[in-house]
């Protein structure tokens, strides 16, 4: 479903991502892990078209999306959430999601109708699905941190993606919030038949739900395989020594 080959990106001499290749199969849940500065966020930005790679290719469902602008990769079925929450703070939760539906269904060229009445049912269903039904009329910016993360997931889901990229979906969450978020993600991925690629610091989360793990270290891919393979990889153990991988 998602195929990355030979992806390389350097910033004025510093190689952030070096010749990284791996694939994620349809409906697979895959994680990219690595210490801070390993190049995870750069990799995500390369995949979503936020940055253009120096070399290498990204294929989404066998279509080349290398360097294609975000608004187009988005239309091709690639959804994304961000590490820092990224919502529309002065719109209500309802309007946040409604906007995504309006864009997804190509209504942006409608200059004349009132926008309020569009896609109420779809928004309602999605609000229930991500657990924000009660907060529908609050401004996005006033939500708690955890709820904002849920809203962001909703924004990514509204465009009906095939592949969902999540940059640290549980960053900054308490243990119970993390637990809830993971259950939510698993349920939604299952319901919608999503392919999921995420980065994460929390190793318990990674080894709890990922079916496949890629390990980045200083821009290089040093391991790529099932959780079991990655856990037993000597190179990974060396890099992550004392970081709780042995549990």
């Amino acid at each position: 479903m998602l195929e990355i080959s030979g992806l390389t990106k350097s910033f004025s001499g510093f190689v952030a991502v070096a010749d990284v290749s791996f694939t994620v199969d349809t409906r697979q849940i895959a994680a990219v892990i690595g210490p801070n500065g390993a190049g995870k966020s750069t990799l995500f930005n390369l995949i979503t078209g936020h940055l253009r790679p120096d070399s290498g290719r990204v294929l989404l469902d066998a279509r080349d999306i290398t360097g294609v602008a975000p608004h187009e990769t988005c239309r091709m079925g690639l959804g994304r959430s961000f590490q820092r929450t990224n919502i529309f703070p002065l719109l209500t939760v309802f309007e946040n999601l409604q906007s995504a539906f309006l864009v997804h269904y190509g209504r942006g060229r409608n200059f004349w109708s009132r926008s309020e009445s569009f896609y109420r049912d779809e928004v309602e269903a999605l609000l229930v699905s991500i657990g924000l039904r009660e907060q529908a009329l609050l401004l996005g910016g006033t939500l708690s941190y955890g709820n904002q993360k849920q809203l962001e997931l909703g924004l990514a889901l509204a465009i009906d993606p095939q592949v969902l990229l999540l940059d640290e979906p549980t960053a900054g969450m308490s243990a119970s919030e993390t637990h809830e978020t993971i259950r939510l993600l698993q349920r939604i991925a299952d319901e919608r038949g999503l392919t999921l690629l995420f980065t994460e610091h929390d190793m318990a989360v990674v080894f709890g739900i990922a079916q496949k793990i890629a390990v980045l270290h200083q821009g290089h891919l040093i391991a790529d395989g099932t959780p079991e393979e990655v856990r037993n990889d000597p190179e990974v153990r060396r890099v992550y020594l004392g970081h709780g991988l042995s549990q």
């Binding site: 979503t48 602008a69 975000p70 608004h71 988005c74 239309r75 959804g79 994304r80 961000f82 990224n86 919502i87 529309f88 703070p89 002065l90 719109l91 209500t92 309802f94 309007e95 409604q98 906007s99 995504a100 309006l102 864009v103 997804h104 209504r107 942006g108 060229r109 409608n110 200059f111 004349w112 109708s113 009132r114 926008s115 309020e116 569009f118 109420r120 928004v123 529908a136 009329l137 401004l139 924004l155 990514a156 509204a158 465009i159």
Partner: protein, 335 residues
């Protein structure tokens, strides 16, 4: 925020009877030639035209989050286009007026193509640069624009038909033009209002709120910014066309950067997060200007002081402050 909060309520539709404020304001304004003095009508014309100008800027500033320091360019292009067409080519007003809007929109599309490639302060600087280029051309191109002499004696439109209407027969031409301008401004503002509340307007709002996220829900940010810039330029052009006639002439200072500053001050003063804010700003600034210049020649000094106080005490502008006051009152009533 009341206006925004209303449209922000996603789920329940508005119930009950509402005071049709816009209609009331329009009718009161329309009756000005009958109930007010000649001077009131003169001020009314100016306020109506500036309202449209400021509202067009707010499509960029308040709705899309784009700070344009060169909005006077399109106001000026509209007034030159209309003035030249009517005075030199002798085109009737009903053709020259829409043509002025169209020409201004075309220039906005052309300049905007480059401007939307930049963001934030660079965007603002480029809009300013383009407007100063337009000013320099208007100032120097004697054959077309009259250069520093300007284009005096732009004729009034032929309003003979209006005199045939009951109640209009004894009006002076300037008052008839006021009625015409008011109706045209009202129609333009209605269109802008509609646009702001449409799905297109919502997409512009997502760009204001978070351009990065907007791109990741599938918005072609530059394209929508360009569309907003073009439309805003077009409406500024319409207001400029009316102003040239009202002013009985078109001059290069219509395009000068200080005109762009004036309209931005109106917009911020009235409240850019409220649809009607810029119109309120146009009203207040025009009246203040009249009042204060009667007492002192240091009008810019007084204006500056008022603005500083306002920006620190009521960052949401006049309507923003009113909203805060109203919501406090209703909370007290509930408690």
């Amino acid at each position: 925020m009341s206006e925004q909060a209303e449209s922000a309520v996603g789920m329940p539709s508005r119930a009950g009877w509402q005071v049709p404020w816009t209609l009331i304001v329009f009718l009161v304004a329309l009756s000005l030639p009958w109930i007010g003095s000649r001077y009131d009508t003169f001020l009314g014309t100016q306020i109506a035209i500036y309202s449209l100008f400021a509202l067009s800027l707010n499509l960029l500033l308040g709705t899309t989050g784009l700070v344009s320091f060169g909005h006077a360019a399109y106001f000026g292009i509209g007034s030159y286009a209309c003035g030249i067409l009517m005075k030199i080519v002798a085109v009737p007003f009903w053709l020259a007026f829409p043509a002025a809007g169209l020409i201004a929109a075309l220039f906005a599309a052309g300049f905007g193509f480059f401007c939307v490639r930049l963001t934030k302060i660079y965007f603002a600087m480029l809009t300013l640069a383009f407007s100063q280029i337009v000013w320099a051309i208007c100032f120097k191109w004697n054959d077309l624009t009259g250069g520093d002499q300007g284009l005096p004696d732009v004729p009034f439109p032929d309003l003979g038909w209006m005199a045939a209407l009951p109640g209009f027969d004894r009006m002076r031409i300037a008052e008839q033009f006021y009625v015409l301008a008011l109706v045209l401004v009202a129609l333009s503002v209605a269109a802008l209002r509609r646009l702001t509340g449409s799905p297109f307007g919502r997409v512009l709002t997502t760009i204001r709120e978070n351009p990065e996220r907007a791109a990741f829900i599938g918005v072609n940010v530059r394209l929508y910014e360009l569309a907003a810039f073009t439309i805003a330029g077009g409406f500024a052009g319409l207001s400029g066309a009316l102003f040239g006639i009202f002013n009985r002439g078109v001059f290069a200072d219509f395009v000068f950067w200080s005109k762009s500053a004036d309209v931005m001050i109106m917009t911020i003063l009235g409240g850019m997060h409220h649809f009607w804010g810029p119109a309120v700003g146009a009203l207040v600034l025009t009246l203040l200007n009249q009042q204060i210049t009667a007492y002192t020649e240091f009008w810019p000094f007084v204006l500056g002081t008022i603005l500083i106080v306002l920006l620190f005490v009521f960052p949401g502008g006049i309507l923003g402050a009113l909203d805060v006051a109203l919501s406090r009152m209703s909370k007290r009533r509930d408690a």
